[in-house]
């Protein structure tokens, strides 16, 4: 694997670390299997791309992308909480609807972001090669996100959210409005995912309506790889595991695809992903010596 390919994998891993953090909030903290992310990732990309092309400040555009993602999350939460639709199904409905929304936002299936000012533009051309600048910049954002999510989950408000996912009946007896926690948690989760989409568009130079397919699997893969490597001792370690898992996942994919002996090609990506996630799920059980 060349250096450029390696740092490209790290960069993509860091972009998808936002997805992993969002998936962690929904699946692990709230115990809410949320597939909305397959729609909110390209939504974030689409909103950011369209606004940036229209001349809006890229930081502001990315902020709007996060709000759009949060709104998508609120729709899923409302379908579940207010209308009592099964959480998984509620999120699939939103995901399907978002495909059309994303096409509307962009007006076409694919928008190119070439020769426009992005969040990264000011950092290029200061002596550091571009393929270092991108992962460095996104890495700094990821560190901020991890610290914010960590401090939140260890606050009184965050504890209420964790309790809601762990034991809803007890939470209500402690005065926690569990419905509100689901709204809040799924909104934050999808805002993070949409930010990942916005950054994806800016680092790769395009937004594509199909770029969301399989986002949930990638996010889950990162969470599971992180748990396999670092265990579940405390919130901060779990969040670092998400980031690490996301990066390692991309490197593993890059390795698999660039090794000639295996004879894999880019279109085998989804198969490799499925194998990786399966291995990450089965490994810890084998290690424990129990029947897998």
């Amino acid at each position: 694997m060349s250096q450029i390919a390696f740092w490209g994998a790290v960069e993509l891993g860091l972009v998808y670390a936002f997805v992993a953090l969002g998936v962690f909030l929904a699946f692990r903290v709230l115990d809410f299997p949320d597939l909305t992310v397959d729609g909110s990732f390209p939504l974030g990309a689409a909103v950011a791309a369209v606004l940036i092309i229209a001349g809006v400040n890229p930081w502001f555009a990315s902020g709007v992308a996060m709000i759009a993602g949060a709104a998508a999350g609120l729709v899923t939460a409302m379908l579940n909480v207010r209308f009592r639709i099964l959480n998984l199904l509620a999120s699939i409905l939103t995901m399907i609807a978002l495909f059309s929304v994303n096409l509307r936002v962009m007006g076409k299936p694919n928008v190119a972001l070439l020769n426009v000012e992005t969040m990264l533009t000011p950092f290029f051309g200061h002596g550091l090669r571009d393929f270092y600048v991108r992962p460095l910049f996104i890495g700094v954002l990821v560190v901020f996100a991890v610290i914010l999510v960590w401090r939140f989950l260890e606050s009184d408000a965050g504890l209420a959210m964790r309790a809601t996912g762990a034991n809803a009946r007890m939470s209500r007896a402690q005065g926690i409005n569990t419905d509100r926690q689901i709204y809040l948690g799924i909104a934050i989760s999808n805002a993070l995912v949409a930010l990942g989409g916005a950054l994806f568009a800016q680092t790769n130079g395009f937004a594509d309506v199909t770029s969301g397919v399989g986002t949930i699997v990638v996010g889950l893969a990162a969470v599971i790889i992180g748990e396999t490597l670092l265990g579940t001792r405390g919130i901060l370690i779990a969040l670092i595991g998400c980031v690490l898992g996301s990066i390692l996942y991309r490197i593993a994919i890059q390795l698999a695809l660039s090794t000639d002996i295996l004879g894999l090609q880019a279109s085998d990506l989804n198969f490799v992903t499925a194998v990786l996630v399966t291995v990450a799920l089965v490994l810890p059980r084998l290690r424990r010596g129990g029947a897998a």
């Binding site: 504890l159 939470s171 926690i176």
Partner: protein
Amino acid sequence: MISIKDIKVVFGRGTPLQKQALNGVSLTIEQGSFVTVIGSNGAGKSTLLGVLAGDVLPTEGQVLIGTTDVTRRSTASRAGLVARVFQDPLTGSCGPLSIEENLALAARRGERRGLVSALGPKRREHFRERIADLNLGLENRMQDRMDLLSGGQRQAVSLVMATLAGSEVLLLDEHTAALDPGMAEFIMGLTQKIVSERKLTTLMVTHSMRQALDYGHRTIMLHGGEIVLDVAGDNRKNLDVEDLIAMFRKMRGQTLDDDALLIG
């Protein structure tokens, strides 16, 4: 103080399974009074507790806790008035969270939860002291996950959790039923101590007639969704389990065939 007036609860109204769980129950419990509740399965004990906690909204009637009318208020919105220990040790606490995190959750019961760190040094120390009072050695395991504790330990922590934030009433829902006899006795002793120290208005549902007479100031018996016995003071002091069963038979004019009631 608790005051409930003419509470009726109907489950599954209009269906073949319609059941009148409570049939016009009225009850006033004075501030600081400890009341025990007995009754056979299906007598309405759990429903009564549910009506007070907010899990069951009554079909008719009125519920006052302190001076607040909570008849239509959800469990979460009345949690500031109601502290509770559940029968199943797993229900009353969060297994994946640590002991101190569970305590931090309970310390904010019924209050706004902000972005302040849930476990600052001051709170940590306070929680540690409260847990050390239990003499179970748990103060050295504050960061252990709650689901590593035994059922009895969890119930003991749950009792501490119930008293971290202020409340108008303490509801105990057969909170020793899932424990071995030794641990049940320990938890009852702890309950007694906490209730009398803090002068809590307490309602304890129990399956054990022995417990019902040994603890508290007043005992009520439910049957078929109605209060069929309500004793306090000297009348209660002179009662023993056999009297209670005889009284029950007399009042209902029927034989007692539920073994659950006989378990001393």
